[in-house]
Symmetry: C2
Subunit: 335 residues, 2 copies
């Protein structure tokens, strides 16, 4: 069987099972592990705090095209995607390692611009870039590892803690990143304000690091960052928590600039587009209320967690099923 | 300027300077940092111990060819290369994250064989694979991050601690990995014992994790693992420590099976071949003596650290300069 037939998530599940099967519970590393493969970041019990680690690769012409992304924006986005995984655990990012693969004909100025973008965002979160490597390769690949921490075993957000009856909520607006990509790829023209918003959404996402920590502080237990798309990422929560989810599509906070520019297509961009790096989380109604008061950004309740493990069900305002063609992003999906 | 003109190490130096220039000393992450870019692993002060982190990428047709390496061996080698960086800091490896880029036509069985190789070696050091990602890509790229720790600030091996007057020593024998690669690439035929030794040297290197910890315990302060080649890696120590080095080439422990099979070329393979993952370290003669008694593997003193910053000088048995054409491995070097 080819990996394209198994799909990205099928492959991850298979590898996770292999690794799990190899566990020797006598080893301290396994004993101290809290979350392994299958959450936004790995978490284990350190000496006095929980340690977090996450890694992600961005591959040229798979995750980005140098035709539409500047090197500096690419650096920012790569760092943002990884910081967002620490945010989704409710953690504090601290250190970054960067593994860079580059064609030998790459301009040095482009590499320094890439680093400028990474450093620019890292500094905002007081994250130090402390290591990595560079390799020759026929294409550009950027792999960033982020190490972070969080207070205690109770102070962590996981994908597996959602409970039936909880509300499902999301930070900020959705759809700008996917709309920005489409605008740049198809060279669409919008008014300057819309253009700026969509560009920023796609090229300069701002990870919800402070918000993730506030979620934890106010009693939220389950979260994920929206990288694959709202539906796809909510499905990850459903699978890990062994629950189902109902979303009222009319309540999904579509970015206004996306609604203006993409009309009917804007809901699809918000539901399936991905790369917005907002946080999707669940909590009892009183927890969501507290969170709404504590966090300055928009917090929208968009549905609820249900016991029925039927995955994510979309509903219109009348409570009837709503159908969408596209349902997320699979790295090995064909077409 | 192209990165090929600047070279791998020139590029790393440039990026390290950029990152250093961006440091804000008020940030806890920078205050707690012990070694950043430019050592085998990053090290920082954790709550009660020193935390270590390292990352390395292996790129298809740059670092390996699937024509001569099986998927399982590839997994082993990738894990070995990264564990070796923790060994070179005198640390204990604990957790691994794996970022995998794969063509969609890759066989699932090949990916599981790759993981089998990684798991096989990881288990020997009680290292848990706890996260990572998989991406579609036109070629195979394996990026492994290893997290580890070591006791205290004094219990760490760095590239920058070598002092004039110290002896230079190395664990084990050198040259088998480079000889193995050459044997497999050129389809050379040797007797079964030699073939097995060279194959093992190239495909199944065993990182000196226990030895690194024993070096630290017995007072060694400066070390590096031999990944680029003895001369090249010793040059890294010289630059970081602001010293020079003299090596008596006759004392270099060339792997006997390499000497048998490659004759005159064997010294070059031992000096410049790389990927042996032995430890190269420095210490006062009394420290080297203690180390020799404490560590069961071969320990050979091959030269001394000098104050003159003239890089690595090779000497023959009469103390005259010895010249070698090839001097290491630069990822962006042309030719």
């Amino acid at each position: 069987m080819k990996v394209s037939e198994l799909g990205e998530f099928g492959l991850i599940n298979l590898l996770a099972k292999m690794v799990e099967g190899s566990q020797d519970r006598r080893f301290a590393s396994w004993q101290q592990l809290i979350t392994g493969i299958g959450d936004d970041a790995a978490a284990w019990q350190g000496d006095t705090s929980i340690q977090l680690a996450t890694v992600d690769s961005l591959i040229q012409d798979v995750h980005f095209s140098l035709g539409i992304v500047s090197w500096e924006d690419l650096g920012w986005r790569s760092m943002a995607a990884n910081l967002s995984d620490i945010a989704a655990m409710g953690g504090i990012p601290k250190y970054a390692l960067v593994s860079l693969a580059l064609p030998e004909q790459t301009e040095v100025d482009d590499v320094t611009a890439l680093y400028q973008g990474m450093i620019g965002l890292a500094q905002q979160f007081e994250v130090a870039i402390v290591g990595g490597d560079v390799s020759r390769a026929p294409l550009v690949a950027i792999t960033i590892t982020i190490l972070g921490s969080t207070g205690s075993r109770d102070n962590i957000l996981t994908r597996s803690a959602a409970m039936p009856g909880e509300q499902i909520a999301v930070t900020g607006y959705l759809g700008a990143a996917a709309a920005g990509l489409e605008m740049l790829t198809r060279e669409l023209q919008f008014d300057p304000e819309v253009t700026a918003c969509l560009k920023r959404g796609f090229l300069r996402p701002y990870p919800r690091v402070a918000e993730g920590q506030l979620l934890v502080e106010h009693g939220v237990k389950a979260a994920i960052d929206i990288s694959d798309g709202l539906i796809s990422d909510l499905n990850h929560i459903c699978e890990a928590s062994q629950v189902g989810a109902r979303i009222e599509v009319d309540r999904v906070p579509v970015e206004p600039a996306v609604a203006t520019s993409f009309g009917d297509k804007s809901l699809e961009l918000a539901l399936s587009g991905g790369e917005d790096y907002e946080l999707l989380f669940t909590g009892r109604p009183d927890v969501i209320s507290k969170v709404r008061k504590a966090i300055p950004c928009l917090i929208t309740a968009i549905g609820e967690v249900v016991a029925d493990k039927g995955g994510v069900v979309l509903l219109n305002s009348k409570g009837s099923p709503f159908h969408l063609n596209k349902a997320g992003w699979d790295h090995f999906a064909t077409g």
